[in-house]
Symmetry: none
Subunit: 243 residues, 2 copies
DNA sequence: CACTTCTGTTACAGCGTGTTACGTTGGCAT
DNA sequence: ATGCCAACGTAACACGCTGTAACAGAAGTG
């Protein structure tokens, strides 16, 4: 990763130099600017990783500038302002700012927030479209994670329903930890209706039973999908995970 | 765009219900949780767009949880805490939180910051899509995007109807996100007649079935164009986009 | 007009999932 | 040990959702 290039937009020269110094001491490249025209000049010229944009810029307004830039560009923008009232902050977020920092600010905290926004921008752009799937292996079984089935130790392909698959994922994600029925119901709940969670009755037991009948050699005496009496269920097998 | 799904992690039930209510009133799906286990259960199973994570969780610690999650996941995380000192905020940013909101907070401002983080994540991740990309590739198939046909992995040219093409585009534009029938109907509806949307009956099912018969090797057991029971349909293949 | 192609509707069969009911198990007090 | 009771397993059932064949308009095309 090359050195981040930040645009420092402020009409107060003292503030600009303070900011510039702070950034340079922390391995950023700080490029000063004081008007929308200068911002656009920089954007069209070279790479800009983030803009620190003061809200009160003499006759210009950082909020408006941010709104205009956002219509054309995705560059991360952090608004900086002495105006710290909630409605003023919200106005900043509404025009698409990534953060809003009130003056005066703690320099270290400012750096942390700059890094946070830049990291978010970088993180998200890297693995677009690729579903994060992991392959689990346990006791000879292979669970792909993106298919609704799994391979038995003997080589058969066992079909699972979507809900059984979901249950298996939840259990595999919490190895050797007993999960209560409520926790499982909540995790399987797609809608977010907390009401529904209570009216589930014995559904989880049924689901567990059906999954057992598919993956346990002797469902009457389950070795992997064990029940923790009075608590819930636990996946008690050695699990290896591959990205 | 489908409805954002947020995980609300707090050990205070009152706080959870307050947050849940606020979020639901603003068109979010709020999923409650109160421990790292529950978070992981949710992450392993369904799509989570953002986690609101309280820092003080009884015997667990939101900062530590955030640090651990960040090592494995890119999911946006906003820390929420009554601890508002600068060094405590910085600790949050240091472990990879996207934002740090102090309690008590202004609900509207909280919503604005949630949207800001989500927008940053979405903006960055949909770069390819926004470039008005034309060619999609998935599982050996090539879909031009401006023609009503696509190339099979074996080299055949498969003709699609206009409506099948439109359906494919909608699904490809929302990778790994389950779309409800209503959402699909709305997206396919060019006219804007909202009346018509409701009178569609099982048309989408038929459309999906016909598309499956053309692109799935075994239409009875679809691997790409999967159905999410009780919800709708989802395109579950790795998609790459060009130009 | 006849003909073809596309698209929506209906009907029915099959499957997935939650509920109920009842038998069994395991822990605990006596 | 014995009896009790709550927790659990599971068969049987009911219901809703989905896949699909068959049909009927609708929309082009000559």
């Amino acid at each position: 990763m090359s050195i981040p290039r930040l645009l420092v937009v402020d009409d107060d020269p003292e503030m600009r130099s303070m900011m510039t110094q702070l950034l340079q001491q922390n391995s950023f490249i700080a490029l000063p600017a004081s008007s929308e025209r200068e911002i656009r000049a920089h954007l069209s010229n070279g790479r800009i990783d983030l803009i620190l944009l003061d809200v009160m810029l003499g006759d210009e307004n950082g909020i408006d500038i941010c709104a205009r830039l956002r219509r054309e560009q995705d560059v991360p923008i952090i608004l900086v302002s002495a105006l710290s009232a909630d409605h003023q902050r919200m106005a900043g977020y509404e025009v698409g700012a990534d953060d809003y920092i009130a003056k005066p600010f703690n320099p270290q905290l400012m750096l942390a927030r700059i890094r946070a926004v830049m990291q978010r921008a970088r993180r998200s752009s890297s693995l677009a479209y690729r579903r994060r799937t992991r392959t689990f292996r346990f006791d000879g079984w292979v669970f792909d994670g993106k298919r609704d089935d799994l391979h038995s130790p003997e080589g058969y392909l066992v079909a699972l329903s979507q809900r059984e698959t979901a249950l298996l994922k939840v259990l595999l994600a919490n190895p050797h930890i007993p999960l209560t029925r409520d926790e499982i119901v909540t995790a399987l709940d797609v809608t977010g209706d907390s009401d529904k969670s209570e009216a589930q009755g014995r559904a989880i037991d049924m689901l567990v039973g059906r999954l057992r009948s598919k993956i346990e050699t002797n469902p009457k005496d389950p070795q992997m999908l064990r029940t923790e009496r009075g608590v819930g269920y636990i996946f008690a097998a050695d699990i290896s995970v591959e990205e």
